[in-house]
Symmetry: C2
């Protein structure tokens, strides 16, 4: 997130890092932004969970445009909202959220097997699509990002802040 | 959304176009994806509503990284989820959504005034930030997009499908 201006974002304290890791740990979906063949952004909602090492993993169909885009250019971004409150009330805009810049890589088959088991344990309904031949796990390695923890409370995160 | 493969998306019928316009008409926020100075995608959640002519408008702070990015490169994308059901239940991933590619332009002052009134009528809490000097309205003109109306039901939309 290069920018020539002074950085208006705070350095995260322990509470901010804990909140960022909590949002990531509870994530079940996210908005994935990729680049099309012209370099124009393209956004879609995808199934996403943190892997065993805390790195975001996305379950993507080989038939989707975003997957073709990632094969051509692995540079991507994620927007992950905190889970809604139990009663489902309140505006999404008021919920904490993570904005990450990530580099995408298809997960090797031997690693994907264990991650798929963990994925279905956390989200049993995913069993419906996880065994379809065109769905594969992608590792989305953060290079950094921002935590928006409320109006005027934004923190700049490093890759190290997000790993555990 | 250029792609050399055969297009797996349907041409929208009247119901699909009505659903797309309904999602846009009820939108109060969206995920905005822009390009940073390196051309890497960057995603954030922003306040968004349809303007009087149906075109998406975003209320952006001049202090935000995404606004600096749009001033440097107006190519952007939006992901707009349908409003959640009354009880707030169900996974976001199962809700219909719009994925649009848009070109951003700062709204002229004379046009912004009327749009601001409509904005606060629809979202009274927006009165808190709408009068802050650094918040401005941006027009996000669609060049096309996709409607995801459920698993396996995806439609390709033209700019004309989204205007009214």
């Amino acid at each position: 997130m290069s920018d020539a201006r002074p950085d208006p974002h705070r350095t995260p304290d322990a509470d901010a890092i804990a909140l960022a890791q909590d949002i990531l740990g509870h994530a079940r979906d996210a908005v994935l932004s990729v680049l099309d063949a012209e370099g124009w952004p393209m956004a879609s909602r995808v199934a996403l969970q943190a892997g065993r090492d805390g790195c975001p993993l996305a379950m993507l169909s080989d038939l989707a445009l975003h997957t073709a885009a990632l094969r051509a250019d692995p540079r991507a971004a994620l927007l992950i909202d905190a889970a809604p409150p139990e009663d489902g009330r309140g505006m999404t805009l008021n919920r904490p959220r993570l904005s990450l810049q990530v580099k995408a890589q298809l997960l090797a088959a031997r690693e994907a097997e264990g991650q798929r088991r963990l994925w279905v344990e956390r989200d049993p309904k995913a069993a419906i699509y996880i065994r379809l031949a065109d769905f594969r796990l992608w590792r989305l390695e953060p290079r950094g990002g921002l935590l928006n923890a409320g109006f005027g409370r934004a923190y700049r995160l490093t890759a190290a802040d997000l790993s555990r």
